[in-house]
Symmetry: C2
């Protein structure tokens, strides 16, 4: 993933990257938030040949109707195969924009300018594009790499603290996958400094953890599942929340998942209980208390890889120690229900 | 494209290929026609774990609503990432099924069992998947290769002669791209024999022409445009027909396009007028008379690569002789209007 640029001047970086991409037309995808807070800063969309496509913000707008809206606007502005789409926003925008680009005329090029911490350290990277479908998160999508990902933590200045925390959950996950050193660094972070120059190297380090894994296994045949740490439980919580129309931050769900899955790691993989308690206390201190979104059995159902083959249980990524990952660990119903009680 | 099998026993071949693909579930996509005429022959969809998805037949059903329907059925039957979709039918089925598979859970595997001549020699091969969108043919799609394409010309037995002719237009195009020898062979063909064992090698030869080109340039950066011969005009005719709700066979449109584009080849590339007259007479003898679908100027508009840069004209693939292709030939409005008069 050498197509990621870390910068303190996203405007200049974006312009210079676009100059080197011969394009018939430039399209800019934003939501109402990134349109208000980021597009002007980037000076995009104000010159002829730059078309702006705006969709409403929020996870429930990462849907097929909005993909059709993007395709329709590309089409009606006469976008050709060498057009370029610049996705400016959080994970919703980079996910849906990447998917729309990947399928329009069998693939136009796209750039991501992630403007939330979550998108900067996770969603905009690694080539996963997608939308939610039939109540399932990211159920439709492609593996398609952006030409460039431009990461500038200035954008985090205007981000509500709750959103910073949400992205920080993925940094915590990366640290757990990386090892003791990076984990200590992350747990000592002052989150009020997230938009400062000094914080950029920490983002870069977190991105490097994901990059190394994705480069090894771009299409998620094996190792990439390491990134699922905290997400088997986390996604189940989110899926129920989506179905019930409850708003839940992705990162919050991931931290609840981390508590449950580190507990399973202690029980099954010999993960040091001290680390488990430290991380759990850290999460408890910073993140909201978990309000159950549904019955534990409902969550368990959603985690099952194969509903017809229930005795297999659910498939987890667990840790034997910080930095030592064990993928494809199947856990039984009772183990999982016990773990869910710890959240 | 070494994943194409020519067989006289599609049933056995399909079973043997499926045995070697570890799959959680097998889904079969058909339209009403292929459900009635082909699915039973293949003995598919009658055992547990084989789910049948049926869509209505016809080009206008190659649309986003039907993709959503396929995704919904995959989803509600609990299809996982290692499910397999078997597309049984003509080009509409292999195009839309390939696209649905390419995006479901970021890509499940699929097999094509083309059951029309058009799909056997063209649509099901080469990895182009797609749907029509906003009145534009194949405007949304991906480049995604099927695991296997299984070609059995037994299926052509039940095909109406008009459909055989439609597919045969692509064989004629392949022959023009291949050279004098294959062209002579194709023009001497007895189309009433198309489902016989002796015809299979001719299909195989035609497929080889396309395969060689696609293997060189899978993502259509250059050489693959050779396959556009006859299609710049042909697609314009089809697009107007789709917009007006007129039914037109793809192959018929291609033969009209071939007449116009070989005329341009004579005028601009020194293509031998004798060949042009021979091919034109052959088409006139076998195919229906062209009934204009719209004004020539409307067709010209649709052919323009860049509507804002009209002086560039339209981009054609032309021939200097059979087997000698020249891509990216721009022709002016007057040249094109004159060529359209020849159809």
């Amino acid at each position: 993933m050498n197509h990621i640029v870390f910068t303190r001047d996203a405007n200049a970086t974006l312009r210079s990257k676009l100059e080197h991409i011969p394009a018939s037309d430039i399209f800019v995808l934003v939501d109402n938030n990134s349109r208000n807070y980021c597009m002007e800063h980037l000076n995009m969309g104000y010159v002829p040949g730059e078309h702006v496509i705006t969709i409403a913000e929020g996870e429930h707008n990462k849907c097929l109707d909005n993909v059709a809206l993007i395709w329709h606007q590309l089409s009606s502005c006469g976008a050709r195969r060498n057009a370029v789409l610049v996705n400016i926003g959080g994970g919703v925008i980079t996910d849906i924009g990447g998917f729309a680009a990947a399928c329009f005329k069998r693939g136009i090029r796209f750039l991501n300018v992630p403007t939330t911490l979550l998108a900067q350290v996770d969603a905009s990277l690694g080539g996963k594009t997608g939308i939610n479908f039939d109540g399932l998160k990211n159920d439709i999508g492609t593996f398609s790499l952006p030409e460039w990902v431009i990461i500038d933590n200035h954008f985090l200045e205007t981000l509500p603290p709750r959103q910073i925390l949400s992205g920080f959950a993925e940094m915590l996950k990366h640290a757990l996958l990386s090892g003791e050193k990076h984990l200590a660094e992350i747990m000592a972070t002052d989150l009020s400094q997230v938009a400062q120059e000094d914080f950029l190297p920490l983002i870069q380090e977190s991105v490097a953890v994901k990059s190394a894994i994705v480069t090894e296994d771009p299409n998620e045949k094996g190792l990439r599942k390491a990134l699922n740490l905290g997400h088997t439980v986390g996604h189940a919580i989110e899926s129920i929340a989506i179905k019930k129309g409850l708003e839940i931050y992705h990162g919050d769900a991931v931290t609840y998942g981390l508590i449950a899955e580190l507990y399973l790691s202690v029980k099954k993989m010999g993960f040091d209980p001290k680390y488990y308690e430290t991380v759990k206390a850290f999460i408890r201190e910073k993140y909201p208390v978990y309000h159950p979104v549904g019955e534990p059995d409902g969550l368990y159902e959603l985690m099952l890889y194969d509903k017809k083959n229930e005795h297999e249980g659910a498939n987890f990524t667990l840790l034997s120690r910080p930095g030592e990952v064990e993928i494809n660990q199947y856990c039984r119903r009772e183990e999982i229900l016990e773990a869910l009680e710890q959240i």
